[in-house]
Protein backbone atom coordinates (compact mmCIF):
# COMPACT_ATOMS: atom_id res chain seq x y z
CA UNK A 1 0.00 0.00 0.00
CA UNK A 2 1.13 3.50 -0.72
CA UNK A 3 -0.12 6.77 0.66
CA UNK A 4 -1.76 7.39 3.97
CA UNK A 5 -5.31 7.73 5.16
CA UNK A 6 -4.19 9.75 8.13
CA UNK A 7 -3.02 13.30 8.70
CA UNK A 8 -5.64 15.23 6.69
CA UNK A 9 -8.92 15.71 8.51
CA UNK A 10 -12.16 14.94 6.73
CA UNK A 11 -13.92 17.56 8.82
CA UNK A 12 -11.55 20.49 9.36
CA UNK A 13 -10.94 22.61 6.27
CA UNK A 14 -9.23 25.95 5.65
CA UNK A 15 -12.07 28.32 6.37
CA UNK A 16 -14.85 25.95 7.43
CA UNK A 17 -15.47 22.73 9.26
CA UNK A 18 -18.07 19.99 9.05
CA UNK A 19 -19.65 19.31 12.43
CA UNK A 20 -22.40 17.13 13.89
CA UNK A 21 -26.02 18.25 13.90
CA UNK A 22 -27.27 19.40 17.29
CA UNK A 23 -31.08 19.45 17.01
CA UNK A 24 -31.48 21.32 20.28
CA UNK A 25 -29.05 24.14 19.45
CA UNK A 26 -29.32 24.37 15.66
CA UNK A 27 -33.10 24.25 15.16
CA UNK A 28 -33.67 27.99 15.65
CA UNK A 29 -31.24 28.98 12.92
CA UNK A 30 -32.34 26.27 10.47
CA UNK A 31 -35.89 27.44 11.01
CA UNK A 32 -34.87 30.91 9.78
CA UNK A 33 -33.25 29.41 6.69
CA UNK A 34 -36.52 27.73 5.69
CA UNK A 35 -37.71 31.16 4.56
CA UNK A 36 -35.72 30.50 1.37
CA UNK A 37 -37.42 28.38 -1.30
CA UNK A 38 -34.12 26.74 -2.32
CA UNK A 39 -33.36 25.62 1.25
CA UNK A 40 -36.87 24.26 1.41
CA UNK A 41 -36.37 22.32 -1.83
CA UNK A 42 -33.29 20.48 -0.64
CA UNK A 43 -33.86 20.10 3.05
CA UNK A 44 -37.46 20.74 4.07
CA UNK A 45 -39.27 19.20 1.09
CA UNK A 46 -42.92 19.42 0.19
CA UNK A 47 -44.84 22.60 -0.25
CA UNK A 48 -42.73 25.70 0.43
CA UNK A 49 -43.60 26.90 3.90
CA UNK A 50 -41.24 28.25 6.55
CA UNK A 51 -40.87 25.88 9.47
CA UNK A 52 -41.18 27.01 13.10
CA UNK A 53 -38.36 26.27 15.54
CA UNK A 54 -40.26 23.54 17.41
CA UNK A 55 -41.22 21.86 14.11
CA UNK A 56 -37.62 22.00 12.96
CA UNK A 57 -36.40 20.45 16.20
CA UNK A 58 -38.87 17.61 15.79
CA UNK A 59 -37.94 17.23 12.13
CA UNK A 60 -34.24 17.02 12.95
CA UNK A 61 -34.81 14.47 15.69
CA UNK A 62 -36.94 12.32 13.36
CA UNK A 63 -34.34 12.66 10.62
CA UNK A 64 -31.51 11.55 12.91
CA UNK A 65 -33.58 8.60 14.11
CA UNK A 66 -34.41 7.54 10.55
CA UNK A 67 -30.79 7.82 9.44
CA UNK A 68 -29.73 5.75 12.43
CA UNK A 69 -32.21 3.03 11.40
CA UNK A 70 -31.66 3.10 7.65
CA UNK A 71 -27.99 4.15 7.46
CA UNK A 72 -28.65 5.82 4.14
CA UNK A 73 -27.43 9.38 4.78
CA UNK A 74 -24.69 11.55 6.26
CA UNK A 75 -25.57 15.04 7.52
CA UNK A 76 -23.17 17.77 8.62
CA UNK A 77 -23.52 21.31 9.85
CA UNK A 78 -21.08 23.71 8.16
CA UNK A 79 -19.44 26.15 10.57
CA UNK A 80 -16.70 28.73 10.13
CA UNK A 81 -13.38 27.65 11.58
CA UNK A 82 -13.59 30.23 14.33
CA UNK A 83 -16.29 28.08 15.93
CA UNK A 84 -19.11 30.51 15.38
CA UNK A 85 -22.74 29.79 14.53
CA UNK A 86 -23.70 27.37 11.72
CA UNK A 87 -23.64 28.81 8.21
CA UNK A 88 -25.04 25.86 6.32
CA UNK A 89 -25.89 22.19 6.00
CA UNK A 90 -24.10 19.63 3.85
CA UNK A 91 -25.45 16.17 3.28
CA UNK A 92 -25.34 12.99 1.24
CA UNK A 93 -28.65 11.20 1.32
CA UNK A 94 -30.73 8.60 -0.54
CA UNK A 95 -27.71 6.33 -0.47
CA UNK A 96 -28.25 2.96 -2.15
CA UNK A 97 -25.38 0.89 -0.84
CA UNK A 98 -25.92 -1.94 -3.33
CA UNK A 99 -25.24 0.52 -6.16
CA UNK A 100 -22.85 2.89 -4.36
CA UNK A 101 -24.90 5.94 -5.34
CA UNK A 102 -26.20 8.92 -3.38
CA UNK A 103 -27.42 12.53 -3.64
CA UNK A 104 -25.20 15.38 -2.48
CA UNK A 105 -26.47 18.79 -1.38
CA UNK A 106 -25.09 21.89 0.26
CA UNK A 107 -27.45 24.54 1.62
CA UNK A 108 -26.34 27.86 3.06
CA UNK A 109 -28.22 30.31 5.23
CA UNK A 110 -27.18 33.19 2.95
CA UNK A 111 -26.25 33.53 -0.73
CA UNK A 112 -23.08 35.38 0.32
CA UNK A 113 -21.91 32.34 2.29
CA UNK A 114 -22.67 30.06 -0.66
CA UNK A 115 -20.38 32.19 -2.85
CA UNK A 116 -17.71 32.42 -0.16
CA UNK A 117 -17.65 28.91 1.30
CA UNK A 118 -19.53 26.74 -1.21
CA UNK A 119 -16.43 25.62 -3.07
CA UNK A 120 -14.62 24.36 0.01
CA UNK A 121 -17.75 22.72 1.42
CA UNK A 122 -18.30 20.87 -1.86
CA UNK A 123 -14.65 19.75 -1.98
CA UNK A 124 -14.93 18.35 1.53
CA UNK A 125 -18.23 16.59 0.84
CA UNK A 126 -16.97 15.09 -2.44
CA UNK A 127 -13.94 13.74 -0.62
CA UNK A 128 -16.18 12.37 2.11
CA UNK A 129 -18.57 10.75 -0.37
CA UNK A 130 -15.99 9.20 -2.67
CA UNK A 131 -13.00 8.55 -0.42
CA UNK A 132 -14.68 7.78 2.91
CA UNK A 133 -18.21 6.58 2.14
CA UNK A 134 -16.80 4.81 -0.96
CA UNK A 135 -19.60 5.86 -3.28
CA UNK A 136 -19.34 5.62 -7.07
CA UNK A 137 -21.79 8.30 -8.09
CA UNK A 138 -22.99 11.53 -6.44
CA UNK A 139 -25.90 13.41 -7.97
CA UNK A 140 -28.26 16.30 -7.26
CA UNK A 141 -31.50 17.68 -8.65
CA UNK A 142 -31.37 21.48 -9.01
CA UNK A 143 -34.03 23.92 -10.21
CA UNK A 144 -33.23 26.35 -13.01
CA UNK A 145 -33.51 29.36 -10.72
CA UNK A 146 -30.69 28.15 -8.45
CA UNK A 147 -28.08 29.79 -10.65
CA UNK A 148 -25.29 30.16 -8.05
CA UNK A 149 -25.74 26.56 -6.96
CA UNK A 150 -25.68 25.32 -10.57
CA UNK A 151 -22.42 27.25 -11.12
CA UNK A 152 -20.93 25.61 -8.03
CA UNK A 153 -21.79 22.08 -9.19
CA UNK A 154 -20.55 22.79 -12.72
CA UNK A 155 -17.29 24.22 -11.36
CA UNK A 156 -16.70 20.95 -9.50
CA UNK A 157 -17.04 18.82 -12.62
CA UNK A 158 -20.64 17.66 -12.25
CA UNK A 159 -22.26 16.92 -15.62
CA UNK A 160 -25.79 17.94 -16.51
CA UNK A 161 -27.35 14.58 -17.28
CA UNK A 162 -31.08 15.20 -17.30
CA UNK A 163 -33.27 18.20 -18.01
CA UNK A 164 -36.80 17.72 -16.72
CA UNK A 165 -38.76 20.32 -18.64
CA UNK A 166 -40.96 22.65 -16.54
CA UNK A 167 -40.71 20.42 -13.47
CA UNK A 168 -40.35 23.19 -10.87
CA UNK A 169 -42.55 26.18 -10.11
CA UNK A 170 -41.27 29.35 -8.47
CA UNK A 171 -41.88 33.11 -8.70
CA UNK A 172 -44.89 32.72 -10.96
CA UNK A 173 -43.40 30.48 -13.63
CA UNK A 174 -42.16 27.02 -14.46
CA UNK A 175 -38.46 26.21 -14.45
CA UNK A 176 -36.60 23.21 -15.75
CA UNK A 177 -35.14 20.86 -13.17
CA UNK A 178 -31.70 19.46 -13.84
CA UNK A 179 -30.01 16.32 -12.58
CA UNK A 180 -26.28 16.81 -12.14
CA UNK A 181 -23.85 14.03 -11.27
CA UNK A 182 -20.18 13.21 -10.97
CA UNK A 183 -18.67 9.72 -10.99
CA UNK A 184 -15.72 8.59 -8.90
CA UNK A 185 -13.29 8.18 -11.86
CA UNK A 186 -14.12 11.74 -12.97
CA UNK A 187 -13.55 13.01 -9.45
CA UNK A 188 -10.22 11.21 -9.12
CA UNK A 189 -9.02 12.55 -12.46
CA UNK A 190 -9.80 16.12 -11.37
CA UNK A 191 -7.93 15.63 -8.09
CA UNK A 192 -4.91 14.17 -9.90
CA UNK A 193 -4.88 17.04 -12.37
CA UNK A 194 -5.18 19.62 -9.58
CA UNK A 195 -2.20 18.20 -7.71
CA UNK A 196 0.06 17.93 -10.80
Amino acid sequence: MTGSMLGKSLYVGEAIELTAIDAEKDAALFSQWTEQPAFNRHFNFGIFRPTAEHEMKKKLEELMKKIDEKRDAYFFVIRKRDGSVPIGLAFIRNILHAHQVGSIYICFGSDADLIKYGSEAMDMMLRYGFMEASLHRLGATLAGYETDMISLYESKGFLREVQHREAAYHAGRYWDEMIYAILKPEYKKRIEEATK
Binding site: I47, F48, L96, A98, H99, Q100, V101, H136, R137, G139, L159, R160, E161, V162, Q163, H164, R165, E166, A167, A168, Y169, Y174, I179, A181, L183
Partner: protein, 182 residues
Protein backbone atom coordinates in the same frame (compact mmCIF):
# COMPACT_ATOMS: atom_id res chain seq x y z
CA UNK B 1 -67.63 9.18 -20.51
CA UNK B 2 -67.45 10.72 -17.06
CA UNK B 3 -67.81 7.39 -15.27
CA UNK B 4 -65.17 5.75 -17.48
CA UNK B 5 -62.27 7.84 -16.27
CA UNK B 6 -60.19 4.79 -15.29
CA UNK B 7 -61.21 2.53 -18.18
CA UNK B 8 -59.16 2.11 -21.36
CA UNK B 9 -59.51 -0.11 -24.44
CA UNK B 10 -58.04 -3.25 -22.88
CA UNK B 11 -57.74 -2.53 -19.18
CA UNK B 12 -59.40 -0.86 -16.26
CA UNK B 13 -57.54 0.54 -13.25
CA UNK B 14 -59.03 -0.80 -10.03
CA UNK B 15 -58.14 -0.50 -6.33
CA UNK B 16 -55.51 -2.87 -4.98
CA UNK B 17 -57.16 -5.83 -3.28
CA UNK B 18 -54.69 -6.78 -0.56
CA UNK B 19 -55.30 -10.52 -0.18
CA UNK B 20 -55.62 -11.23 -3.89
CA UNK B 21 -52.74 -9.15 -5.12
CA UNK B 22 -50.24 -10.13 -2.41
CA UNK B 23 -50.39 -13.70 -3.64
CA UNK B 24 -50.03 -12.60 -7.25
CA UNK B 25 -47.09 -10.34 -6.44
CA UNK B 26 -45.34 -13.17 -4.61
CA UNK B 27 -45.77 -15.33 -7.73
CA UNK B 28 -44.67 -12.61 -10.15
CA UNK B 29 -41.55 -12.01 -8.04
CA UNK B 30 -40.32 -15.53 -8.83
CA UNK B 31 -39.54 -14.24 -12.34
CA UNK B 32 -36.26 -12.47 -11.57
CA UNK B 33 -36.16 -10.85 -15.02
CA UNK B 34 -39.41 -9.13 -14.05
CA UNK B 35 -38.18 -7.82 -10.70
CA UNK B 36 -34.89 -6.73 -12.25
CA UNK B 37 -36.79 -4.61 -14.76
CA UNK B 38 -39.19 -3.32 -12.12
CA UNK B 39 -37.00 -2.20 -9.27
CA UNK B 40 -33.47 -1.07 -8.57
CA UNK B 41 -33.09 -2.98 -5.30
CA UNK B 42 -31.68 -6.48 -5.28
CA UNK B 43 -34.33 -8.91 -6.57
CA UNK B 44 -35.67 -10.90 -3.64
CA UNK B 45 -38.42 -13.40 -2.85
CA UNK B 46 -40.27 -11.34 -0.26
CA UNK B 47 -42.60 -13.38 1.98
CA UNK B 48 -46.27 -12.80 1.34
CA UNK B 49 -46.77 -11.29 4.81
CA UNK B 50 -44.15 -8.65 3.98
CA UNK B 51 -45.94 -7.80 0.73
CA UNK B 52 -49.24 -7.46 2.59
CA UNK B 53 -47.57 -5.11 5.05
CA UNK B 54 -46.35 -2.90 2.20
CA UNK B 55 -49.83 -2.79 0.72
CA UNK B 56 -51.14 -1.73 4.14
CA UNK B 57 -48.53 0.99 4.27
CA UNK B 58 -49.21 2.48 0.82
CA UNK B 59 -49.24 6.18 1.43
CA UNK B 60 -52.67 7.83 1.24
CA UNK B 61 -51.04 10.56 -0.78
CA UNK B 62 -50.19 8.28 -3.69
CA UNK B 63 -52.55 6.70 -6.23
CA UNK B 64 -51.83 3.00 -6.73
CA UNK B 65 -53.98 0.76 -8.90
CA UNK B 66 -54.17 -2.83 -10.01
CA UNK B 67 -54.42 -3.26 -13.79
CA UNK B 68 -57.46 -5.36 -14.66
CA UNK B 69 -57.67 -6.86 -18.16
CA UNK B 70 -61.30 -6.32 -19.13
CA UNK B 71 -61.96 -9.13 -21.63
CA UNK B 72 -59.97 -11.72 -19.65
CA UNK B 73 -61.34 -10.53 -16.28
CA UNK B 74 -57.93 -10.81 -14.65
CA UNK B 75 -55.50 -8.63 -12.70
CA UNK B 76 -52.28 -8.56 -14.73
CA UNK B 77 -50.10 -5.92 -13.08
CA UNK B 78 -50.06 -2.63 -11.25
CA UNK B 79 -49.54 1.05 -11.95
CA UNK B 80 -49.33 4.09 -9.72
CA UNK B 81 -48.48 7.74 -9.47
CA UNK B 82 -47.07 9.44 -6.40
CA UNK B 83 -44.42 11.79 -5.07
CA UNK B 84 -46.60 14.73 -6.13
CA UNK B 85 -45.35 18.30 -6.26
CA UNK B 86 -48.67 20.11 -6.16
CA UNK B 87 -47.11 23.53 -6.75
CA UNK B 88 -45.41 22.51 -9.99
CA UNK B 89 -48.07 19.92 -10.77
CA UNK B 90 -45.69 17.01 -11.22
CA UNK B 91 -45.74 13.33 -10.35
CA UNK B 92 -43.78 10.11 -10.96
CA UNK B 93 -45.39 7.08 -12.57
CA UNK B 94 -44.40 3.43 -12.19
CA UNK B 95 -45.88 0.36 -13.91
CA UNK B 96 -45.33 -3.39 -13.99
CA UNK B 97 -47.06 -6.11 -16.02
CA UNK B 98 -46.49 -9.09 -13.73
CA UNK B 99 -48.40 -11.65 -15.79
CA UNK B 100 -46.05 -12.75 -18.61
CA UNK B 101 -48.96 -13.63 -20.93
CA UNK B 102 -49.90 -9.95 -21.09
CA UNK B 103 -46.51 -8.44 -21.92
CA UNK B 104 -45.74 -6.87 -25.29
CA UNK B 105 -49.42 -6.86 -26.32
CA UNK B 106 -50.44 -3.29 -25.58
CA UNK B 107 -51.93 -3.79 -22.12
CA UNK B 108 -49.21 -1.76 -20.38
CA UNK B 109 -49.42 1.00 -22.98
CA UNK B 110 -53.20 1.12 -22.52
CA UNK B 111 -52.85 1.30 -18.72
CA UNK B 112 -50.31 4.12 -19.08
CA UNK B 113 -52.65 6.04 -21.38
CA UNK B 114 -55.43 5.69 -18.81
CA UNK B 115 -53.28 6.95 -15.96
CA UNK B 116 -52.06 9.89 -18.07
CA UNK B 117 -55.65 10.89 -18.71
CA UNK B 118 -56.31 10.57 -14.97
CA UNK B 119 -53.21 12.66 -14.13
CA UNK B 120 -53.99 15.45 -16.61
CA UNK B 121 -57.79 15.55 -16.77
CA UNK B 122 -58.72 14.66 -13.20
CA UNK B 123 -55.73 15.72 -11.08
CA UNK B 124 -54.88 18.73 -13.29
CA UNK B 125 -51.17 17.94 -13.28
CA UNK B 126 -48.66 19.77 -15.48
CA UNK B 127 -46.20 16.94 -16.16
CA UNK B 128 -45.58 13.26 -15.49
CA UNK B 129 -42.05 11.90 -14.93
CA UNK B 130 -40.71 8.42 -15.18
CA UNK B 131 -37.39 6.64 -14.98
CA UNK B 132 -36.60 3.42 -16.80
CA UNK B 133 -33.52 1.20 -16.88
CA UNK B 134 -31.61 1.41 -20.16
CA UNK B 135 -31.89 -2.38 -20.63
CA UNK B 136 -35.71 -2.21 -20.59
CA UNK B 137 -36.18 -1.55 -24.31
CA UNK B 138 -39.75 -2.84 -24.42
CA UNK B 139 -40.84 -0.36 -21.75
CA UNK B 140 -39.06 2.52 -23.46
CA UNK B 141 -40.92 1.77 -26.71
CA UNK B 142 -44.23 1.72 -24.82
CA UNK B 143 -43.49 5.03 -23.08
CA UNK B 144 -42.55 6.68 -26.39
CA UNK B 145 -45.83 5.47 -27.86
CA UNK B 146 -47.64 7.18 -24.95
CA UNK B 147 -45.86 10.46 -25.74
CA UNK B 148 -43.06 10.49 -23.17
CA UNK B 149 -39.94 12.30 -24.34
CA UNK B 150 -36.38 11.38 -23.46
CA UNK B 151 -34.94 13.98 -21.08
CA UNK B 152 -31.57 12.53 -20.23
CA UNK B 153 -29.76 9.68 -18.59
CA UNK B 154 -28.41 9.11 -15.07
CA UNK B 155 -25.07 7.49 -15.79
CA UNK B 156 -23.90 4.28 -14.10
CA UNK B 157 -26.65 4.39 -11.48
CA UNK B 158 -27.20 0.64 -11.30
CA UNK B 159 -24.61 -1.96 -10.32
CA UNK B 160 -25.67 -5.50 -11.20
CA UNK B 161 -24.00 -8.47 -12.89
CA UNK B 162 -20.73 -6.82 -11.92
CA UNK B 163 -21.26 -3.92 -14.30
CA UNK B 164 -22.87 -0.51 -14.35
CA UNK B 165 -26.10 0.43 -16.12
CA UNK B 166 -27.78 3.75 -16.87
CA UNK B 167 -31.25 5.00 -15.95
CA UNK B 168 -33.22 6.96 -18.53
CA UNK B 169 -35.47 9.82 -17.48
CA UNK B 170 -38.54 10.65 -19.55
CA UNK B 171 -41.35 13.16 -19.18
CA UNK B 172 -44.57 14.33 -20.78
CA UNK B 173 -46.25 17.72 -20.38
CA UNK B 174 -50.00 18.25 -20.20
CA UNK B 175 -49.86 20.32 -23.41
CA UNK B 176 -48.05 17.52 -25.27
CA UNK B 177 -50.57 14.98 -24.10
CA UNK B 178 -53.44 17.23 -25.20
CA UNK B 179 -51.91 17.67 -28.65
CA UNK B 180 -51.77 13.88 -29.02
CA UNK B 181 -55.49 13.46 -28.31
CA UNK B 182 -56.66 15.38 -31.38
Amino acid sequence: MTDKVLTGKLVKLVPINKEKIAEQWANWNIDSDYTRLLDIGPSYLYPRKQIEKWIDEIDDGSCEFAIHAIAEDKVIGDIGIGDFDWAAGTTWVGIGIGDPDFRGKGYGTDAMQVILRYAFEELNLHRVNLSVFDFNKRAIRSYEKCGFKYEGVMREFIYKEDQRWDIWNMGILHSEWQAMQS
